[in-house]
């Protein structure tokens, strides 16, 4: 291809153009999408209307009958197609133990899409998408079924032009990983033809402690190279979580106060109002800390506390996150500064619910934690002495995830104590879900003749101010896998560091006492409140 004709650019008024593409973005937009480095003349970094469409490819999904697949993954695939972001000829192969034909599978996806998709249903989109649906029936360790899968994929390459590019989504419990990965290798599905890619997507849990995580990584790594393995932490796909980095590093007004000089402490909360539902088998023995703190909450901590990455590419961000995760220090007194609990029966939001020990499939003497709170410190110059309180639990007051950065009190107040009686500490709260947005809390004069200062909230509602209705996290993550774009996926090192933080706590818990009971619908066990009270602080009611 001869170089494109160059035309002199006019003097364009760039006054309103605040955002400049980074080199990495330019490269991505102009080159990376074209295979073999041949620049596509129709792509141009300045042409920002053209969306990123994944190249020709297919997705093979193991565990298509699961809840996650029906409620999140299939609707996300339809939404991507509806937004025109999937390549023409995209193929979706389902693999499960059902005795289904392709049409039955399509029917199942159709139901899931109708019920859960975010964007409106459009027949022509569905028609185009459903042409690429295939189903393979079989056990996860059955070589015959995998041979059939290989045939199906080869046929898709011929019929739909997927060009040998396939991603394998393991939406199955980890105990099936070895079987699936081994069989993929056995029948040669881990290697595509020259110039194509194979990727594997795995969901948490990434093990239940450091040793098992390493074992799991070893199994996957034995077949797929590290850059082909995508670990999904769906929190990282959320717009609000990505916005943490924009908020911190695109603005001048937050970063100067984002340190021990001004921050008193940080509270990271992920609360659910539901119980374990039908997940007794998965949940018992795992518990809240392993299920949530090890991955989601530590990732949120890392994004809140990390230093500025040198660029926005995957390596630079992973480097900073890894640094901050490796600087986490546990409190010496694990008895006081870690708390675990179990929900007891109660009236949650007007509905009578049973306690954890009365749930179906849970042994009455189970010591699994459904609530966990820990105090962590980050040993860096920026954060030394600033506690990070992390808590998560089921059957709490309401469903909410948020990061609250609580600032120190003003060193001097030119008011009398009565005038500022109702003034608390300033806070900046990033509401991750629901009602995504940012709240800033500060003091303001109460209207009237006397001088009285009281806390007020200033709200930034994400849904309103952002110019595109937020895509579901899974949409973004699936698209990123198909594009081979990795900044939003935690790396092996991050997973292992997470376990290094949690393992000593779990070991301590195994040897000391048992979880405290808390009434369903409240904000957790009393000991969690005592933990903060000891430091002269209290939990925010989220």
């Amino acid at each position: 291809m001869s170089p494109l004709p160059k035309y002199p650019k006019p003097a364009v008024d760039k006054g309103h153009q605040g955002y400049q593409l980074s080199q990495a973005e330019k490269t991505l937009l102009s080159h990376e999408l074209a295979p073999e480095g041949a620049a596509n003349p129709l792509r141009d970094a300045a042409d920002r209307r053209l969306p990123r469409i994944a190249g020709p490819c297919g997705l093979v999904m193991f565990g298509v009958t699961g809840d996650l697949s029906r409620k999140k993954l299939m609707p996300a695939i339809y939404d991507l197609a509806n937004r025109g972001l999937l390549p023409p000829g995209f193929a979706l192969v389902g693999f499960a133990r059902r005795d289904w034909a392709d049409q039955d599978f399509a029917e199942e996806v159709h139901l899931a899409v109708k019920e859960h998709a975010r964007t409106p249903y459009r027949e022509e989109v569905w028609r185009q998408l459903s042409e690429g649906f295939r189903f393979v029936s079989g056990e996860f360790g059955d070589k015959q079924a995998f041979m059939e899968l290989k045939d199906t994929i080869d046929k898709l390459d011929a019929e739909r032009g997927t060009n040998g590019n396939h991603a394998f989504y393991l939406s199955v419990p980890p105990k099936f990983f070895p079987g699936v990965v081994e069989q993929l290798h056995e029948v040669g599905l881990d290697q595509g033809p020259e110039g194509s890619w194979r990727r594997v997507i795995i969901e948490k849990p990434f093990g239940h402690d450091l040793a098992s995580a390493r074992e799991l990584n070893a199994i996957v790594d034995s077949v797929f190279p590290p850059k082909s393995v995508f670990r999904i932490d769906h929190y990282l796909g959320k717009e609000t979580v990505q916005n943490i980095l924009a908020l911190r590093f695109a603005n001048e007004m937050f970063e100067p106060i984002w340190s021990r000089d001004h921050v008193d402490h940080v509270q990271i909360t992920m609360a659910e109002d539901i119980g374990i539902g039908g997940r007794a088998g998965y949940y018992d023995g795992i518990g809240a800390a392993r299920d949530v703190i090890q991955n989601h909450l530590l990732q949120l901590l890392a994004l809140t506390a990390m230093e500025e990455p040198v660029s926005f590419d995957a390596d630079a961000i992973a480097a900073e996150k890894t640094k901050v995760l490796s600087a986490i220090r546990l409190p010496d007194d694990l008895d006081t500064y870690t708390v675990r609990g179990q929900y007891a029966s109660g009236w949650q939001g007007g509905e009578k619910v049973v306690g954890y020990l009365q749930e179906d499939g849970i042994s009455p003497d189970s010591t699994t934690d459904t609530y966990a709170a820990v105090k962590l410190e980050v040993n860096t110059r920026r954060w030394a002495g600033v506690p990070f309180y992390l808590r998560t639990g089921k059957r709490l007051g309401r469903r909410v995830t948020e990061i609250a950065v609580v600032f120190k009190r003003s060193p001097f107040l030119p008011f009398t104590p009565t005038q500022t009686e109702e003034l608390g500490q300033n806070a900046l709260v990033i509401r991750v879900q629901p009602d995504e947005g940012v709240t800033v809390r500060f003091g303001s004069k109460v209207p009237g003749t006397s001088m009285e200062v009281r806390d007020v909230n200033m709200d930034f509602a994400y849904g309103e101010a952002f110019t595109e209705s937020s895509p579901e996290a899974y949409e973004r993550l699936i698209l990123d896998v198909l594009l081979g774009d990795a900044p939003l996926f935690p790396r092996v090192a991050e997973v292992e560091l997470g376990w290094e933080v949690l393992d000593p706590i779990e070991e301590y818990w195994d040897e000391h006492g048992k979880p405290e009971q808390y009434t369903s619908g409240t904000w957790g066990p009393a000991k969690a409140d005592e933990m903060l009270a000891k430091d002269g602080r209290s939990w925010r009611r989220p």
């Binding site: 291809m1 001869s2 494109l4 004709p5 035309y7 002199p8 650019k9 006019p10 003097a11 364009v12 008024d13 760039k14 309103h16 153009q17 955002y19 999408l33 074209a34 295979p35 073999e36 041949a38 596509n40 003349p41 129709l42 792509r43 141009d44 300045a46 042409d47 920002r48 209307r49 053209l50 969306p51 469409i53 190249g55 020709p56 197609a81 509806n82 025109g84 390549p87 023409p88 000829g89 459009r122 022509e124 989109v125 028609r127 185009q128 042409e131 011929a158 019929e159 739909r160 032009g161 060009n163 709200d459 509602a461 309103e464 101010a465 110019t467 595109e468 209705s469």
Partner: protein, 379 residues
């Protein structure tokens, strides 16, 4: 809630907006931009409905300006609509009577939201130099619609009145095509030797698409006409065979590539609200659009507009008309459909005065445009 204010002022309108918000219990507005719409009675309901729909993604204060210079007395009548059936956000429809019609900027300026971008949209007729017009001056982004009117400013003449920040919905309509063609070349990195674009007659989008392809690929492009709707196909001859994307029905397209099976692609013609939503997503300069206009002008523009074949040169558009496809002066189908829809709407819409003449609105005289824009000076 809809509040009618007759013989009013901008300050009273601003107060009415605040009052309605307070009554609803919401003290602040979440709007991120002000969208000014300058149009006539016939088009205003349709435009407002699309703008309110786009407001779901881009919360806006919408100011609709309808000039009535033919009215004997000058004055301002307004209706303030907040939280009505049309959708979220707040809208004000203002009728500028008599002499006031020529001073729309004075009415709009006090109503702009502080410190947020302003976008002006002309859903039907638009000034020749949008940025120099009274309402265009207030905005950082100006949107016109070549398909919104019977006699749009020819694409080839657009550059003369172009300023950075201008775009046309005809260009927005190309995005799905451009995106799919780019994806096709991602898939098959071939060297393109020739391009043919087919579309219905007088389709501004097809001209822009053809010019964009010619510019980016550096090859001659043939633009031929058929009965539509809209753009019906793009054929690219490459060293590896032909890549074609055809959409005969305006809904579902077929992508054909050498040595690969044909594939269906959903490429539905989009609603006005969707187009506006895409426009409002980016408030910066669309440099690609600007460059395309430059190329339309550089090339033999007459060839496109008069639809006569010219000898192919590098990066030149050749146009071949098929004589059996009806008179060339036929209205674009889209305009006809829209006309019908407008008439239907006028029945439900008490405020619509169907049949108002298009020249009701003060047109910016070309003579006023003598002051050259920065873009004009560039080659």
């Amino acid at each position: 809630m809809i509040k009618h204010l007759d013989s009013t002022t901008s300050a009273k309108i601003a107060n009415a907006l605040i009052d309605i918000r307070k009554e609803a219990g919401a003290a602040t507005t979440g709007a991120v931009l002000t969208l000014v719409i300058e149009t006539d009675e016939r088009h205003h309901y349709y435009a407002l409905r699309a703008a309110r729909e786009a407001s779901r993604a881009h919360p806006s204060r919408i100011l609709v300006v309808i000039p009535h210079p033919e009215q004997p007395f000058s004055g301002l009548d307004a209706e303030v609509r907040v939280g009505d059936e049309m959708g979220p956000g707040e809208a004000v429809v203002m009728r500028l009577n008599g002499e006031l019609a020529a001073h729309a900027d004075a009415v709009v300026l006090p109503l702009l939201l502080p410190d947020t971008p302003v976008v002006t949209w002309w859903p039907a007729e638009s000034p020749e130099d949008p940025a120099a017009s009274a309402l265009g001056k207030l905005a950082m982004r100006r949107i016109t619609d070549a398909s919104g009117t019977h006699q749009p400013i020819p694409v080839a003449d657009r550059l003369r009145g172009y300023s950075p920040g201008d775009t046309d919905l005809a260009w927005t309509r190309c995005t799905p095509w451009r995106s799919m063609l780019a994806a096709a070349l991602d898939q098959l990195p071939a060297t393109v030797g020739s391009v043919k674009v087919t579309a219905e007659v007088d389709n501004a989008s097809s001209t822009l698409l053809a010019v964009w392809l010619g510019w980016r690929l550096g090859v001659p492009v043939t633009l031929s006409t058929d009965t539509g709707p809209g753009i019906t196909g793009v054929h690219m001859g490459t060293d590896k065979g032909e890549i074609s994307l055809t959409r005969p029905d305006g809904m579902l397209a077929v992508l054909s590539m050498p040595e690969q099976p044909d594939r269906h692609v959903a490429l539905k013609r989009r609603e006005l609200a969707d187009l506006l939503t895409e426009e409002l997503r980016r408030l910066d300069v669309d440099e690609t659009y600007e460059e395309v206009l430059r190329h339309v002008t550089e090339q033999d523009a007459a060839a496109i507009e008069k639809m006569q074949p010219t000898a192919p040169q590098k990066s030149t558009i050749t146009v071949t008309a098929e004589p059996d496809k009806g008179p060339l002066g036929e209205l674009p189908k889209e305009s006809v459909e829209r006309e019908q829809e407008l008439q239907n709407l006028a029945i439900d819409e008490p405020l619509g005065q169907a049949g108002a003449k298009p020249d009701d609105k003060p047109s910016d005289k070309p003579a006023d445009k003598a002051a050259a824009k920065p873009a004009d000076g560039a080659p």
